[in-house]
């Protein structure tokens, strides 16, 4: 494993690791669900048009809905089962919270499979680039992190900005989450091959795979493949949020993402390993991306596993099956719409809605010990938020801006550069929800001004 000195960045913090519970648990099939709510728009956007009727039996991998146009994507059945209804509602993780989405409910489901590697596979190496691109666009693939976007959109953006460096972001700096780590450990060669496919399609020769240096001992199979494909594997120090796109591009490509921009603005494409694996499985095995690895962990969880989970699996059910007390958890959905489960990592995740389902963005479902919510006190201007901000924002002043509603001032302080990592809230001794406030300022600043006179 190559470990070059890429330096570090200003700010950030050493988080407790807390991954030991699931770090060495191999990927296992999820328990059989009572029902699946397959969202018709996994990106939270426009939905596809259903092709099936209620009562109809479907096979695993069968197309359930066809894209009507625009950003919509084809939807496929993850498991064999029976269509129960077409007008169910599922909550999918959007950029700032859960979004209601039309869904197809499947019941009478079969057992969840393990991630299979069939012996028959396509030869993609001799496949021309145009054909590969065509296959990728038709695959119904998405990126596998929040906010989810169709892979075709991601490819178009990367091609339009003529990216010359492709970075696979496998740092996974948040506590508890081990989904990407297990994927790299068990399917490392697949991930590297998927990354190479994306690089060839985009015509990029500089390909980097960034991992956490403490995990490098597990990635032996990956190192061999990376060496043969000329993918530079880079072990980065453990300092959260080194996996934030803007920070990663700053470190590895020496380019600074402009405030409010994305990595493609500086001609760097960033992808996650789950998407690379999905690309490989689609191109080589012709398997649709209907499953993903979900880490179920936390002190309150009874089982700690990395599940190979079909998309549309209700989050509450997956986590409740593993909760210690069946009775206490069963009461939760009726009592409130909020589950005591965290969707995603503990630093940037969302609190689960009762109707939340597993989407490509769901890398973890956590039932952690949350400290009783101490009421926020006043800011004593200790400056720790400012010291630890990876974007070097003066968060203490932004907090003043929030309290005084000074959005213009926040704009001048470049609030759009916030990477939403959550470090400021983490360190705040006054328990102020600083991340939340900065996010709201950022949204208010991005909102267009009303037209004069209206």
């Amino acid at each position: 494993m190559l470990r070059r000195c890429y330096g570090t960045f200003t700010g950030g913090i050493d988080l407790p690791d807390q991954k030991s519970a699931t770090l060495n648990r191999s990927i296992t099939p999820a328990p059989r669900p009572s029902r699946l709510l397959v969202p018709l728009g996994p990106c939270g956007g426009p939905t596809a048009k259903p092709l099936v009727a209620p009562g109809q039996a479907v096979e695993a991998g069968q197309m359930l809905a066809r894209a009507a146009g625009g950003d919509a994507m084809d939807v496929f059945a993850p498991l064999a089962g029976k269509v129960a209804s077409l007008d169910a509602v599922a909550a999918v993780a959007g950029p700032y919270g859960f979004l209601a989405n039309a869904a197809i409910e499947l019941t009478d489901l079969g057992e969840c499979p393990a991630p299979a590697s069939p012996a028959t596979h396509e030869n993609w190496i001799d496949c021309p680039t145009d054909a590969l691109m065509q296959q990728l666009r038709q695959g119904g693939l998405t990126t596998h992190r929040r906010p989810v976007e169709p892979l075709a959109t991601w490819l178009n953006k990367a091609a339009a900005t003529r990216c010359d460096v492709l970075i696979a972001n496998a740092v996974e700096g948040q506590p508890y989450v081990t989904a990407d780590h297990r994927l790299l450990t068990e399917h490392g060669a697949d991930v590297v091959a998927g990354l190479v496919i994306l690089a060839r399609v985009l015509g990029i020769t500089k390909v980097l795979l960034a991992v956490d240096y403490r995990r490098t001992g597990s990635y032996q199979s990956l190192a061999q493949a990376a060496h043969s494909w000329d993918v530079a594997t880079i072990a980065l120090p453990h300092k959260y949020p080194i996996g934030a796109d803007a920070v990663l591009v700053h470190l590895l490509a020496r380019r600074q993402v402009p405030p409010g921009g994305t990595a493609t603005d500086v001609a760097a494409a960033v992808i996650d390993p789950a998407s690379c694996c999905a690309v490989f499985r689609w191109i080589v095995y012709k398997q649709r991306a209907t499953h993903r690895v979900v880490t179920v962990a936390g002190e309150q969880a009874g089982r700690h596993e990395n599940f190979w989970t079909p998309l549309g699996y209700p989050c509450a059910e997956l986590a409740r099956r593993t909760a210690p007390s069946e009775a206490g958890a069963a009461r939760a959905p009726s009592a409130s719409v909020v589950e005591p489960i965290i969707h995603g990592g503990p630093m940037v995740g969302l609190r689960c809605h009762a109707m939340a389902v597993v989407t490509p963005a769901t890398n973890a479902l956590l039932a952690i010990d949350e400290a009783p919510q101490a009421s926020p006190t006043t800011c004593i201007r200790c400056g720790w938020c400012t010291d630890h901000c990876p974007a070097r924002l003066n968060v203490a002043i932004l907090n003043d801006d929030f309290e005084l509603s000074r959005v213009n001032h926040a704009c001048r302080l470049r609030v759009a550069a916030c990477v939403e990592c959550g470090v400021c809230s983490y360190v705040c001794p006054a328990r102020l929800p600083l991340t939340e406030r900065v996010k709201q300022l950022k949204q208010a600043a991005a909102r267009p001004l009303p037209v004069e006179g209206t």
Partner: protein, 421 residues
């Protein structure tokens, strides 16, 4: 993409149509370090200089400290009880203010001085601004300044006491006698019928170098040729530097023991509650001013020499000793470690703190050298506290991705509340 809001793209149409269930309230993890811990740890650190003060100034120092701390807590409690506002963060900050106030007070003051200082510190310095997190000036210094103005003679007599070596901890500092031919503290027995020596403060002796119509000294450490025999050498009149290091010298309760203050500073920096840049900036800038600023020495007869750059004027040995005397006598270290680092009244960013520290050290050193105010570095800190909001808005670190040289931001039409709509 751009930060210019007038060209920002509107949200896609479907985003408004889809109901958003929840705003995330990430992160779900928090470090276990509440604000009260900061104040309690600072109190622990401040106990070091306090204990040194109790050793060298006896039981009267303990009474002054207890009065200051208790009255700060009582005044804070009474204020919030009377105004029906909740006291934020408990009373830990009131205890800290009382403790810091006690460190700055002389040990021989009458009982009403710490009480009045506490009233000013809590009410004027802190409560009327809105309490913890909102005040502009360091509250303990407001109290110290108030009593220094109200009781100038009581607070700054010509001779200050320090207990004799055989009367430590139990002696009475008011039972003091002036000493003839005082050389060093450890060599002296207690004067008959008294517990303490009455001595001029080292700062007062050094003050003769820069002000006064008749310069008393003909040199720092070397006497010029044909200088009159009645003109002394400045450094010969000072107690040895070691006395200043371990605190056996007249001064405020917590001001004299440099070692205790430095240890407290190391502890606070290790805990991360103080950035090393701030105290270092204060001490270095004060040292720079002292090393360069002119002193006035008596020459032959009636003439007065103005000597610039005293660091090198009579060789670096004498110059360094002079600078060390200037730094370790008086309240510079206490101001740099405990007063200027009060979180609410110092700038937030590191760069801002360096600017602030250089201002504190420079202003304080100039006040000490040329105006002979009784508490120069405290006044320097208070003066720079005034500029803290200005420094905070002026000093902006370059945000990730911001261009190094940028055009001024575009003018944007002002609008009312932007969060609510």
């Amino acid at each position: 993409m751009t930060t210019d809001r007038t060209t920002a793209q509107p949200a896609p149409p479907h985003a408004a149509a889809v109901p958003s269930y929840l705003i995330s309230n990430a992160p779900f993890l928090h470090s276990l370090e509440p604000a009260r811990t900061i104040y309690i740890v600072t109190q622990v650190a401040a106990c070091g200089p306090l204990v040194a003060g109790l050793v060298f100034f006896g039981w009267r120092a303990a009474i002054v400290a207890a009065l200051a701390i208790v009255s700060c807590a009582v005044v804070e409690k009474a204020y919030y009880r009377c105004t029906y506002t909740p006291a934020l963060l408990g009373r830990s900050h009131a205890y800290l203010t009382g403790l810091l106030l006690a460190l700055t007070l002389p040990p021989f003051v009458p009982w009403y001085v710490p009480i009045l200082a506490a009233v000013f510190a809590i009410v004027v310095g802190k409560a009327i601004f809105g309490g913890v997190g909102h005040f502009l000036w360091q509250p303990a210094l407001i109290g110290r300044l108030a009593v220094a103005v109200m009781f100038p003679a009581t607070m700054n007599p010509t001779a200050w006491p320090v207990l004799a070596p055989n009367k430590l901890l139990v002696g009475d500092v008011r039972q003091s006698r002036p000493m003839e031919n005082y050389r060093r503290w450890s060599a002296q027995p207690a004067p008959p019928g008294a517990d303490a020596f009455a001595l001029p403060r080292p700062t007062t002796i050094l003050g003769g170098l820069t002000t006064g119509a008749e310069p008393a000294f003909s040199g720092l450490a070397t006497k010029p040729e044909n200088a009159p025999p009645n003109k002394g050498l400045a450094l010969m009149r000072m107690p040895p530097l070691t006395d200043l290091f371990y605190g056996a010298t007249p001064g405020g309760i917590g001001e004299t023991c440099s070692i205790a203050i430095v240890l407290a500073a190391v502890y606070l920096i290790y805990r991360g509650y103080v950035k090393w840049q701030l105290p270092v900036a204060i001490v270095l800038s004060a040292a720079a001013v002292v090393a360069v600023a002119p002193i006035r020495l008596a020459g032959a007869g009636q003439e007065v020499r103005t000597v610039w750059l005293p660091l090198l004027a009579e060789g670096s040995d004498a110059g360094l000793t002079y600078v060390c005397y200037q730094l370790f006598s008086g309240e510079l270290l206490l101001a740099a470690v405990f007063m200027a680092t009060e979180m609410t009244s110092r700038p937030v960013t590191t760069g801002g703190q360096v600017i602030f520290g250089v201002g504190c050290g420079t202003v304080g050193a100039l006040l000490k050298l040329y105006l002979q105010v009784p508490i120069p570095f405290y006044m320097g800190v208070l003066a720079m506290n005034t500029f803290t909001p200005a420094i905070d808005s002026f000093w902006r670190p370059r945000v990730l991705g911001q261009k190094r040289f940028r055009l001024p931001p575009p003018k944007i039409a002002s609008r009312g509340s932007r969060i609510a709509d």
